[in-house]
Symmetry: C3
Subunit: 482 residues, 3 copies
């Protein structure tokens, strides 16, 4: 007998009756607001080509490192799940992979993945029984059939999901052709890009040499000279703005920034391009490039995002066999106080600049990040990120940042996902958790309910739109310019 | 239509009905207890001269870095708020400054500043509408008129606030004349001082050279020789005790202490006075001076307070234009385990010594501070400090220290403020949050309600009085001695 | 008038009525499950000799560093409590010691010690008045009389406590005679050992030289040669398995591991046995030995436990007078990401290996440990440990690990205690706190109540049994083999 799958209307609200009633009321005011997704990792090809998704496992399972990392931690073979190796995709039968996943779904009890997936199953696919080994085939059949219909094509889902704006993330050598194709397609979905130049700013990146060469080709600049290299960034930033970008993004191992003199920066760059950079040079170059990017942001208005603090590819044997992004990126303590100081001393007092900083080290919320964001005009706090994008994680974020930074130095929610179907679920969780937090403040007579209603809208919609400058007149798109 | 301003009688209590009822009951037993304020930064001149406060903005806005840092973080110009520059106070009209503040008051939603200010507005000034742009002038008029009355003179407010003892903080070269004047005035308000020698113990302090010279003059000791320098401290400590001091206070970048041999200490001091100290020497000298002060405390009974862990003046451009204490002090991780060990190994086993340690790094509560305070006889934990002096911060303090250190290794509440009018509000918040914490323990059957009542009194009143030795027969005041 | 002592049936459950009802229901399903105690420090002599315990103070007070550290922190002399000095036990009268303790029992308000002790008083001894100065003698008389009865002999209590398995911890040179005696005694209590080789793997241990010599004698191996030394470990691990051991345990100052080549390891070992090891060598040798132990675990199936992060013997004067384990061990920040990487890269992908890691640094829960355990097949998280084995500590553990690691990468509860009488109390607290956590997830509609029931059993019983391999056919006991 399969158990029913239901999404309770009060899920994630506090149990206390009075507080729950307030949370319900607040949530009613934001539930139907459009989704602003200003930072994420969906594939623009989906929206340019609008082809049907392949099958449930390829869509939901193989690319989702939240899922396969947990299964792997309990001894499940990645091959059995269809997770690609460096040497190519394993020949896992997608239905068999789904069965393996279904029979281990109990591992996700108490995790956000379970919440997100159950939302996808119930709301997106209309399933009404719980997933387990006994319902695996039923799930597979229902979802596989649905994915073959027009209603489950990417653009149809985008419209159904009530997405007002969705940012993807592209590298510095991306042609942006998918974005141009979307613009030319006549479809009015607002899919924009974001500029993530890590492969050409991190000389320890495995793709650095090749990326730098391609960076020169695509920009026509002499990227082996410091001024040409900076000019190439300016050109590409303009290209990205032509594909709707309002932000750049930087994933660095630390939060280090630097503010070298032009001569020092040029000498450092010279060591970098000659392949003579030490580990300290590489760190310093990444640090300097954040400040360079911030200065370009002052010129061109793009929002700068910093995502620091992950020890990438911690599992060397798995990296050797399977490559990057296989669930083996582990957070580390991150020093924001000393790390961000050079950048903030250079440009942090500029009220027209927006730098959004994220953390995987929650100890920095109350100790470093809220005090910094509650002081520097340019600095804002990104939402609870990655492992902390969860009910408890989002609650800690609010509890530990609000009293010092307030709500207005935060920027709403980022889903930050490549799991397209989970986007409504993730925003729904964020809205519910924020409403629950506000409801507690109201119930404890720390805030008026009118203020809480206003803030619920800010946190669900307005702050993200403003912080990422999606409320401003966009620059002309490349298609329009051409 | 202005919104009403009301202070709900259940504010800050848990929403759960049963727990709230317990909290109410506990709070009823401590609400009216006198205020013990053993550490703070009010100006003794207020109480010696007893002049009227200048105007609402000069009193409430310009000196409160909690307020102007938040406004600055959202792009408000400090000049518009009347915050002084190094080059002198800006010519901001106080009413205009107040209007700027009022129109940004929504930024403080969810912050302790909003709680404190609303308490001041409602309880101290009797205002009954909420502050916003529309009520700014009404507020200004009401408060400005009140401040011109006798009832709002500092001594009248002190008496009205039911303050049993209030400590100010003075530097090592202060004449203490305001304290002497209070003693001689016939007014019976118990305003005492505390000895904060940072300008002569921190050779990286910008005022060090001048302060050391003045230190020699005021004490008549040869402060350029190690023994004379120590003797000068002893003299000044005695002076401060004559102005009621029962404690010393030390604001250091880290929690480092040292226990050098006399010869080593003398050699270090020699480098310090010659201006030859390296950064390591400066750190070591501050560290050694904490242990020297602790040893003097063993002689003279003064309580030693350590306030470590702030990166001062993080914003260099703002420091250059506006100087210290402008909202740009940012907490850092602090190592108490290795830092305090030399001092604790030297004198930490002395039950007659009291060392009160504070932190801006909450990660140390459960990991380091509670285990240390739950072991060493001399060590006690100061309350949640600065950014953490807030409902969530105080709750975390209790949740993370109580199970290992108990309640009796803590010392009650410090308001630590220069915002005189907010003192009752701050103590009220602390009492409410502690009662809420105790109520939860009672509701979860982890504590008897009788014990909770006893503890509520300890946390609100008795522990502070005992820890700071305000329950002991004071030394004769200088005025009486003379 | 003595106050009554009662253990409320809802203790430690949330106050909210709906959540409390769920917690009650979950707890009803696990309350009576047998106790699995896979890691602890009871004395096997108790169970081999089955003699009566000496007196209440010697049993409950003198060996419990949770108790005497708190009393010491408030100025109580350790001699008055009967805590042994290096020079021998003080001549404290046990009744007088008990009176001192009783008159300070209020210090434990809000601590887990109070919960555990009240459970022992009420459930084990049947006391029905609260402990204070007035009831001290009554307590002493009741408990002293009880301890003289057959029903309070160690084996009778073991049976009464419904302990299914209890692990003690022995050093590498222990003869295991008490364990052999238990096996031969005909008593069917399942008391097993665990292998803790710290005295021969930590060359900074004060007993290292003597322990290494004894290690050679007991194994007959040349423990001064690297291969002989490793072989000696293999022999002793086999001996311990013959005394029921399923695990090894390692208490190191850090979480550092290493994976040296055999030649490097041999050179390092050579410096160690020659007494030429630097502090870095000592750290590297401990680090290398963790990986060696993990590799032996792959051979012999023993579970490897790592307990890192304590600064031992922080109070040097007390260490000089009283020796180890006197309440002066203080947690430190611990780096798991870089620390564990060599071991995890060597053997962390082995699904047949189990490495259980503990922490005293709660900041690592969400940041490092849950992400690591939610990825590596070999890694599991030990429960909240030592200072964090408390209601708030256990709650934080679940709140901060579950969303990333799930429940199935945790291993149930460890009481980790030498306080034998408190074992049922400690397991009861853990079960209640876990049920309270699960109840909140149910009440917030984040989990079905059926799943919560299943998990309550897992967390209370099954996970510990599986993780420590107590569900497997044990190796033949030495007595059976002989």
């Amino acid at each position: 007998m399969a158990r029913p799958l239901t999404l309770h209307e009060d899920r994630l609200f506090p149990a206390d009756r009075e507080t729950r009633a307030i949370a319900r009321d607040l949530y009613a005011g934001v539930k139907a607001l459009p989704i602003i997704s200003p930072h994420g990792h969906t594939d623009p090809r989906w929206f340019s080509e609008n082809a049907a998704f392949e099958n449930p496992s390829a869509l939901l399972l193989a690319p989702d490192h939240y899922l396969f990392r947990m299964l792997y931690s309990q001894g499940v073979d990645l091959d059995a799940l269809g997770v690609p190796r460096r040497s190519g995709a394993p020949s896992a039968d997608p239905r068999a992979a789904w069965r393996v996943f279904a029979s281990h779904f109990h591992l996700f009890r108490g995790t956000p993945s379970a919440i997100w997936l159950n939302h996808v199953f119930a709301e997106v696919f209309g399933l009404d029984v719980a997933l387990d080994a006994g319902t695996a085939d039923h799930y597979y059949d229902v979802m596989d059939a649905a994915l073959k219909t027009e209603a489950f094509r990417p653009r149809a889902l985008f419209d159904r999901f009530n997405i007002e704006a969705l940012a993807t993330t592209e590298g510095p050598t991306d042609t942006l052709d998918h974005h141009y194709a979307i613009q030319s397609s006549g479809w009015d979905g607002n899919v924009i890009t974001a500029y993530r130049p890590d492969p050409v700013t991190d000389c320890e990146h495995e793709a650095f040499a090749g990326a730098l060469e391609a960076f020169g080709e695509i920009t026509g600049e002499d990227v082996y000279a410091w001024t040409g290299y900076l000019e190439a960034h300016r050109r590409r930033r303009a290209d990205f703005r032509g594909a709707g970008a309002t932000s750049t993004d930087h994933g660095h191992p630390t939060a280090a920034t630097a503010d070298l003199s032009p001569a020092e920066a040029e000498r450092l760059f010279s060591r970098v391009v000659k392949g003579e950079a030490t580990a300290e040079d590489a760190e310093l170059f990444r640090a300097q490039m954040l400040t360079e990017m911030a200065k370009m942001s002052l010129e061109d208005g793009m929002v700068l995002q910093i995502h620091p603090g992950s020890f990438r590819n911690h599992n060397r044997p798995l990296f050797d066999s399977h490559g990057r992004d296989k669930g083996a990126d582990i957070p580390m303590p991150t020093d924001y106080v000393r790390g961000l100081r050079p950048l903030l001393n250079a440009v942090g007092n500029e009220p027209d600049l927006t730098v959004i900083v994220f953390t995987l080290d929650e100890t920095a919320y109350a100790r470093e990040l809220a005090p910094l964001a509650g002081h520097y005009p340019a600095l804002k706090l990104g939402p609870a990120w990655w492992f902390h994008d969860s009910p408890e994680g989002m609650r800690r974020f609010r509890e530990q940042t609000t009293e010092t930074a307030g709500f207005y130095n935060t920027v709403g929610f980022n889903d930050d996902t490549r799991a397209f179907l989970s986007i409504p679920a993730r925003h729904d969780v964020a809205r519910r958790v924020d409403c629950a937090f506000l409801a507690r403040l109201v119930a404890e007579h720390r805030m008026d309910v009118e203020d809480a209603h206003a803030l619920a809208v800010e946190l669900s919609y307005t702050l993200a739109k403003k912080a990422y400058r999606l409320d401003r007149e966009p620059e002309p798109r490349a298609a329009a310019r051409a």
